[in-house]
Amino acid sequence: MSADVELNNVSVTFGSFYAAKSVNVKINGGEFFSFLGPSGCGKTTLLRAISGFQDPSEGSVLIDNKDMFGIGPNKRPTSLIFQNLALFPLMSVSENIAFSLEVRGVSKKDRQKRADELLELIALEGQGEKKVHQLSGGQKQRVAIARALAVEPKVLLLDEPLSALDLKLRQRMRTELREIQKRVNITFIYITHDQGEALTMSDRIAVMNDGEIEQIGPCDEVYNNPLTPFVATFVGENNPLFGTVKDINQNKVKIETPDGDFLSTMNENKKLNIGDEAIAFVRPESLFIPRDGDNFDNQIEVNIESFEFEGNIKNFYATLKSGTRIKFSIPNAIDTSSISSGTKLQLGFESIKSSILPKAQLAID
């Protein structure tokens, strides 16, 4: 059983400080939804508002169309997985998992049965008698999930639970979380500052900044068609090219910059007019070294400064004529031995892979 979660105009204030400001979002039952944003953007506050630890100062939280105001966390159909997991160290793994049943007066036999079922779900059969400290990081993670699922919540809330794990484990847990979500088929609301996590697991994400939602949408849409310069630079990497709008042809916009004119694509929700100050964005992986016969919408001249080797890709840092720095990435499979610092290059990018937005604050300032 999953539930819809609706935030209607939710604000949470601490004194005169708005931790969350007029947040509107409707999360569908069974959806894997992520709030993505830098630390201090208000995403944890929203999670606490949904779980019941913090009632909103304005607006309302609806779960299954029922206003949750004044209903405590122990009375809501939600379960929260804490950033540090907050497993109970003095209890065994089974006792941890069955705690929510214990407090509801379920008999010991039934509790044990349910704990065993859940241990099987998280592939820890027969390890129920262990103490929490005897488990590895990934196992603790899975126990925390099982504990949260034991009461069959309609909504599972996750507060950056993967942040303490090392890279490999984190990547594996992403897949596992997604699989568990499909199996139990309940609403997952995930909080993270890691765009990789949000993009790989979620059906939809909400990007937050300064207590407000900047954009809500499916992952690829947010990545490919950002609504604000903040989203463009926070979700993945992006090179901003500052300039003024010179020409508009349907959704194709020509921007005039100190480094030349570029053709870019306008988001239909963000109208621009000729003469507006704007930023065209192009991602490092969308910049190519043209080969014979290639014909890109845009050409850009760069002077290579340095590069770094990341494994699957190589990152090059370069300056434009005006001194603006940009970054571009070339797959390791392509031979780049002829490029070194000081090399002058012509790069190309397609207008469809570049978005143009009215000038506003970036995430990387």
């Binding site: 019941g52 966390p73 804490f82 950033q83 497993l87 407090v103």
Partner: protein, 309 residues
């Protein structure tokens, strides 16, 4: 040998001078202030009571008479029990246990509030206001309570003044003053171990329990109290031992009809000039205290290391 000693990690970590100071201070404290006096008392408690000059003489011999006196009230007869002394002893133990429990019940909510609910500045204020009254000497605090609880004392005068009662309540006669004084006397020794233990609990543990549907009461029972167990045991043992050995408070606050066991010991030493019997009674008190500590550790399944922490 010396070289061997100085290469030990303890010396390397602290440096020679500091390490030697620690060793000397600890050995001095332990040997001269703890072991020797206690052994001397133990020895004395098994000797007949003779004036110092007769020590070593024919009248100075080992005997069980002081312990026998505690139980049977006589050196020779085993027929009647010493109900007076046994009564005082039993009552002292029982009341001390009640005082310890009362202290625990009283301190737990406050310690929890300071550690987990109050904001930092309120918490500091509360801690300071708990400590400040204890800048006043224990004897003076007891006298202050006596002034409050006397038949013509502050409380009685106030209550008769506003007409709630027309006869004084006999707080002192019924030892209500004594119990209050004993609970108050060592309250900080319960408060701070409890506070420390609760303070170290991750707040997420409490929130997680709540989120999983636990009521506040059950969260305390299943999460907070098990975590605070070492602090509870530590506070209980300290309060019990000090209460059972309290002298100043009972002298000032107990009713004329009742005695506190340490008052009995005091009488043997100072008024009856019978150091041997006083020693025997002290040893009995010591044994009870040790038994209490061991029992607490057994009941709560806590190791000595955890208590000290």
């Amino acid at each position: 040998m010396g070289n061997y000693l100085f290469t030990q990690p303890f010396f390397k970590k602290n440096g020679k001078a500091v390490a030697i100071y620690f060793l000397v201070a600890i050995v001095f404290w332990f040997v001269f202030l703890v072991i020797i006096p206690q052994l001397y008392m133990l020895d004395l408690s098994f000797r007949s009571n003779v004036p110092p000059l007769a020590r070593g003489g024919p009248q100075d011999f080992y005997t069980m008479e002081h312990y026998q006196h505690f139980v049977f009230g006589s050196k020779t007869s085993l027929e009647a029990f010493n109900f007076v002394d046994l009564g005082v002893f039993g009552r002292t133990i029982l009341v001390s246990i009640m005082v310890t429990i009362a202290n625990l019940l009283f301190c737990y909510p406050i310690a929890f509030y300071i550690a987990k609910i109050a904001n930092p500045s309120t918490a500091r204020l509360l801690i300071v206001s708990l400590i400040i009254p204890f800048w006043i000497n224990e004897l003076l605090r007891s006298f202050a309570l006596r002034i409050l609880f006397a038949n013509e004392g502050v409380i009685n005068n106030f209550l008769t003044g506003i007409g709630v009662i027309d006869q004084s309540i006999l707080f002192i006669t019924y030892d209500i003053g004594l119990y209050t004084g004993l609970v108050y006397a060592y309250i900080l020794l319960m408060m701070f171990p409890l506070y420390n233990a609760i303070e170290s609990l991750d707040i997420n543990q409490i929130e997680a329990a709540k989120d999983l549907g636990s009521s506040s009461l059950r969260t305390h029972w299943r999460i907070v109290i098990p975590h605070a167990k070492p602090g509870i045991v530590s506070g209980c043992t300290m309060v019990f031992m000090l209460t059972v050995g309290a002298l100043a408070t009972p002298v000032v606050l107990s009713s004329p009809n009742t005695l506190w066991f340490p008052q009995l010991i005091y009488q043997w030493f100072n008024m009856n000039d019978n150091w041997s019997r006083g020693s025997a009674y002290s040893i009995i008190l010591l044994i009870i205290s040790v038994i209490f500590v061991l029992a607490m550790m057994r009941i709560f399944k806590v190791k000595i290391g955890e208590i000290i922490k």
